[in-house]
């Protein structure tokens, strides 16, 4: 399976996702944001980091890159797109995903391992996970507080487009397990066609037992399935 990781000035989790993809046997290429053409890809990844320093608004400036038009075209043609952390922010700025990521409720950067629940295990990104499986996964962000309007929220719920929700070890979705104040503990969402996934936690940080755990592996295995 072929993947393309878009690298913006200030992206800094690009190497991490490339390492994870290659470990999972993807044929990966790194694409500089100034490119105007995307190679034929099965999966496009917008990595985590601080593209453009998060200046103005996180992801706002990256969202205006030349390459984004190609990403939008590919996404509309059904290509799989994965936006992680800053990548998720960029997806909302481009409109490929609705909603927005606001400043964390406690106004501080948070880096820790938290739990998320797999809300929909029937997508290209999640079919290797069990329904309601609880994953231990790393977050590292300043603006991870997902917010959207009532219409979109209803749409997300009715069409099973919520990918992950923050929860505790037992799988209970509650206030205490919400690290950043996200609306209804939402940690990741799909678009209506379910070919685009935006998520705040970092699955690429969870593929190596020595460093953390391997709860992220099944996201990549699902894609290869």
């Amino acid at each position: 399976m072929k993947s393309s990781v878009i690298v913006f000035p200030g992206s800094n989790c690009d190497r991490d996702i490339a390492v994870a993809l290659e470990k999972m046997q993807f044929k990966n290429q790194m694409i500089w944001h100034k490119e105007t053409k995307l190679p034929k890809s099965d999966l496009i990844v917008l990595p985590g980091g601080f593209s453009y320093g998060d200046y103005l608004r996180s992801g706002a400036i990256a969202g205006k890159s030349l390459i984004i038009d190609e990403v939008i075209k590919a996404a509309n043609n059904g290509c799989l797109v994965l936006g992680i952390c800053n990548g998720f922010q960029i997806l909302t700025e481009t409109g490929l995903l609705k909603g927005t990521l606001l400043r964390n409720k406690n106004l501080k950067f948070i880096n820790k391992d938290i739990q998320v629940k797999v809300m929909n295990n029937e997508t290209k990104f999640s079919n290797k996970y069990k329904k309601n499986e609880v994953l231990k996964i790393n977050i590292a962000h300043n603006e991870g507080n997902f917010f959207t309007d009532d219409n979109h929220l209803r749409d997300l719920k009715e069409n099973n487009l919520i990918a992950f929700k923050y929860c505790n070890e037992k799988g209970n979705v509650d206030d205490q397990s919400n690290p950043n104040g996200s609306l209804e503990n939402i940690a990741g969402i799909y678009n209506s066609k379910k070919n685009i996934l935006g998520m705040m936690p970092h699955p690429e940080r969870m593929v190596d037992k020595l460093i953390s755990n391997t709860d992220g592996i099944n996201l990549f295995s699902s894609l290869l399935n």
Partner: protein, 78 residues
């Protein structure tokens, strides 16, 4: 009484955000010489005497809203 407070970076202080925003606008085909990013507040106070009210707003700026080391501010009655 309502006031607006505009907070800007002092003249010689680096504005990393303004720099990036300027380059992006230029890349989008816009024409501009310079842009600096600041903050804007609107505050409503109970005090009815304008001079006293402005003094209060001034206090707010000095005590909290403005980083006097690197920022300037302007108060305007709305």
């Amino acid at each position: 009484m309502k006031f607006s407070i505009t907070v800007t970076l002092k003249k010689d202080v680096l504005d990393p955000q303004g720099k990036v925003v300027q380059n992006t606008l230029v890349n989008l085909g816009m024409n501009l010489k310079n842009i600096r990013q600041g903050k804007y507040f609107e505050v409503e106070v109970e005090e009815k005497d304008q001079i006293k009210a402005e003094r209060e707003v001034n206090e707010m700026c000095k005590k909290l809203l403005v980083n006097l080391i690197i920022e300037d501010f302007k108060i305007n009655k709305i």
